[in-house]
Amino acid sequence: MNRVAIVGAGITDCRGRWVEATYWDLFQQATRRTLADAQVKAAEVDSVVYGIYNDIFEHQAIPESALTGILGMAEKPGTRVTSGGATGFYAMRTAIMEVASGLSDLVLCVGGEKATDCYDPQSKTATPMVIDTIAKSWDPFFEYPLGATASDSYMQMCMGYDDRYPGDIGDGLVRAKIIEMLCRQGNKNPFGQRRDETVTAEQVLASRWIIAPFLRLLEACMYTEGAAGILFASEKKAREISERTGVPPIWVKGVGAANESYQVGRGGSHKPLHSIVSDRVAAERAYAMAGVRPSDIPLVELHDAFVAQLMVTLGEMGFVPLGKTRKLVDDGVMADIRQLGDAGRPAKGQVLINPSGGLIFGGHFVGGSNMFSMWSARREMLRREIPLALIHGTGAINAVFGGAIVVEFEGGVR
């Protein structure tokens, strides 16, 4: 395949609710910033890929149709991608394929979410209706009528993991310490939703249970309204844009994806309950394509729906051993932002994990969350001169969708 580079990125402010903007404007804000970052006019873009998770949240079927003209993408090809929580990842994969195939030289990948206009007249708040809309990700025959929620499904994976590896993710203090570290990182994200919050391990442990014993209120990701864009370019186009902006390109080195079966079970192609196989297979494919090992990668922006799942995912992706993911804290595998500052690189054996604050502190606008992660990874690579980074996405019921992208900064210090 042809080489593919990232030449621009832009995000909106991450907010619990944007009453000042519809999703039309959020997507336009992200597009404006992405194109300005690359010093590119809309006319120069060959095609666009939209990451939009859910028509019900956007309150319009075919929501991308309303965006075409507003984003300056009229008379260009436009593809909408929707793959649950992994929508952003799959949208980027689609954009990358379009450039890699030679079909387009410059592709805008933009994703976002407007979720909290939903309203539940019973409780007079948004949350139960947002949860119910996401719960419609379950089938209407067997699972939805049982009252399952998205949190339940990720927790079911964590419970299955804990059955097999007791004493790892089950230690609330380890999880609380990770939260404290993610919070400090989120404070440094100028667009982060919870950038002004201070959350200590003690507060995490005192917060209310959502699902015992792996999920307290302060361990969960947010609902965010916002959007993010990534501009992918062919090698020739990337050199040209880089000349213009003075910013070096970030190269796509490996892309891996794997979706597990919806049916949970034993053996065959069934989804096991103790493991997020999709994360493992996706990451292994991305490593193989890039010719790297996890130990080569000092920076990860992963999809952390919940801290316990963050631990399992980092185990599946090979950064810590499965069953001993608590080494993130116990052995200091998770780099401490207080030591790194704004320009430092993690020491050997350490990984900078979710410097954006992740989906728990930074933002989680589902259709664009993985673009948000990519935006952050590129930012950190450039300013810290980090050579390699991994971007991860997960989604769908029981975390059955998985995706991973390895990117490289040639000017990074090895």
Binding site: I56, P121, I131, S151, P213, R266, G268
Partner: protein, 329 residues
């Protein structure tokens, strides 16, 4: 069986547009709307499974080639053997919980009022080398679902609702150990054969430490009660509610009375109560007053509740310490 309507009266909003303040300065509007469709959703090829449920049978699909069993029968053509047609298999009414089950306390809008409930994956075709698991509701006859009951490997008995419509909620599972020996082989076992009402309260171990802890808890609750009448927020929390909650602990019993916006604490177990809660450690209540949570205690299994109605009172009690802290110096 009367099912009621799909949407209740509460699922509605008045037509209109209102002003809404955001993070940025400026005036913004929002309009009330909805996006919903009704369905007459066909069960199609899945109808066989649901028709069988109506008859008190659990059906699976078995591949003649690879012998895998799909529970439920989510397809009748084996996806791993070139979609060869699968055969019907009548499944046993006993199974094993495949992984420890999560307990839902914050349900989505469509399930408000059902919490707490447990759902998990049941391994039914345990003789098959390859099998899918049945997603199911899990119930106990010992009170509300709580940690330690629905753990990986626990043996379960399939129970059928007496009135069945052809839906996954026609069935649920209970721990086999809770099913009387004479009913364990029964197929189908109907819900009416088991006693889910008036679950027996767990026995508590009495101790001198617990008696001392109860003294502290009572003092803390009385101090809280004294402030409740002075706190407008707490008054709003209690509204026009009326409850008499008995509590048994390892240090002795007590009663919480809620009436006319007041909380009263009596150092004995009243004869007439709405329900009786059980906590071996009375410190559960001291922690509640110190801005903790009775809901959390229930979720952790430290506070036993007889019913969903009792669980529904806890969020109101949980608000009181916070309301009082904000209103009363």
């Amino acid at each position: 069986m009367k099912q009621g309507n799909i949407l209740g009266e509460v699922w509605n909003l008045p037509r209109g547009t209102s002003e809404i303040a955001g993070k940025d300065p400026g005036r913004y509007l929002q309009f009330n709307s909805h996006m919903v469709t009704f369905y007459q959703q066909t069960y199609g090829e899945l109808s066989r499974f649901f028709l069988a449920l109506r008859e008190g049978k659990l059906l699976g699909a078995r591949c003649r080639k690879c012998k895998q069993v799909l529970v439920p029968a989510s397809t009748w053509h084996c996806p791993t053997c070139d979609f060869v047609e699968m055969e019907e298999v009548d499944l046993p009414h006993r199974g094993v919980l495949a992984a420890t089950a999560p307990i839902t306390i914050f349900p989505s809008a469509s399930f408000i009022g059902e919490a707490p409930f447990a759902r998990g994956y049941v391994d039914v075709a345990t003789d098959a080398r390859i099998a899918s698991f049945l997603p199911s509701r899990l119930r106990t006859t010992t009170g509300l679902p709580r940690p330690g009951i629905f753990v990986k490997g626990v043996e379960l008995k399939l129970v059928f609702e007496d009135d069945r419509i052809g839906a996954i909620r026609d069935i649920f599972w209970v721990p086999m150990s809770e099913v009387p020996a004479r009913l364990r082989q029964k197929k189908p076992l109907l819900a009416s054969a088991l006693n889910f009402k008036n679950p027996p309260a767990p026995k508590v171990r009495k101790s001198r430490e617990a008696a001392a802890a109860l003294g502290e808890a009572l003092a803390a609750m009385r101090a809280l009660a004294g402030k409740v009448t002075k706190s407008p927020r707490a008054q709003k929390d209690l509204g026009g509610r009326k409850h008499v909650l008995g509590v048994t602990t390892g240090g002795g019993g007590f009663t919480l009375k809620i009436e006319k916006g007041a909380l009263r604490v009596a150092a004995d177990l009243a004869k007439k109560t709405d329900f009786v809660l059980v906590a071996e450690d009375p410190a559960v209540f001291s922690r509640w007053v110190a801005d903790g949570s009775l809901t959390d205690a229930a979720v952790e299994g430290k506070l036993w509740l007889p019913s969903r109605e009792a669980f529904g009172v806890l969020p109101i009690l949980d608000r009181l310490p916070r309301s009082v802290r904000r209103d009363v110096k």
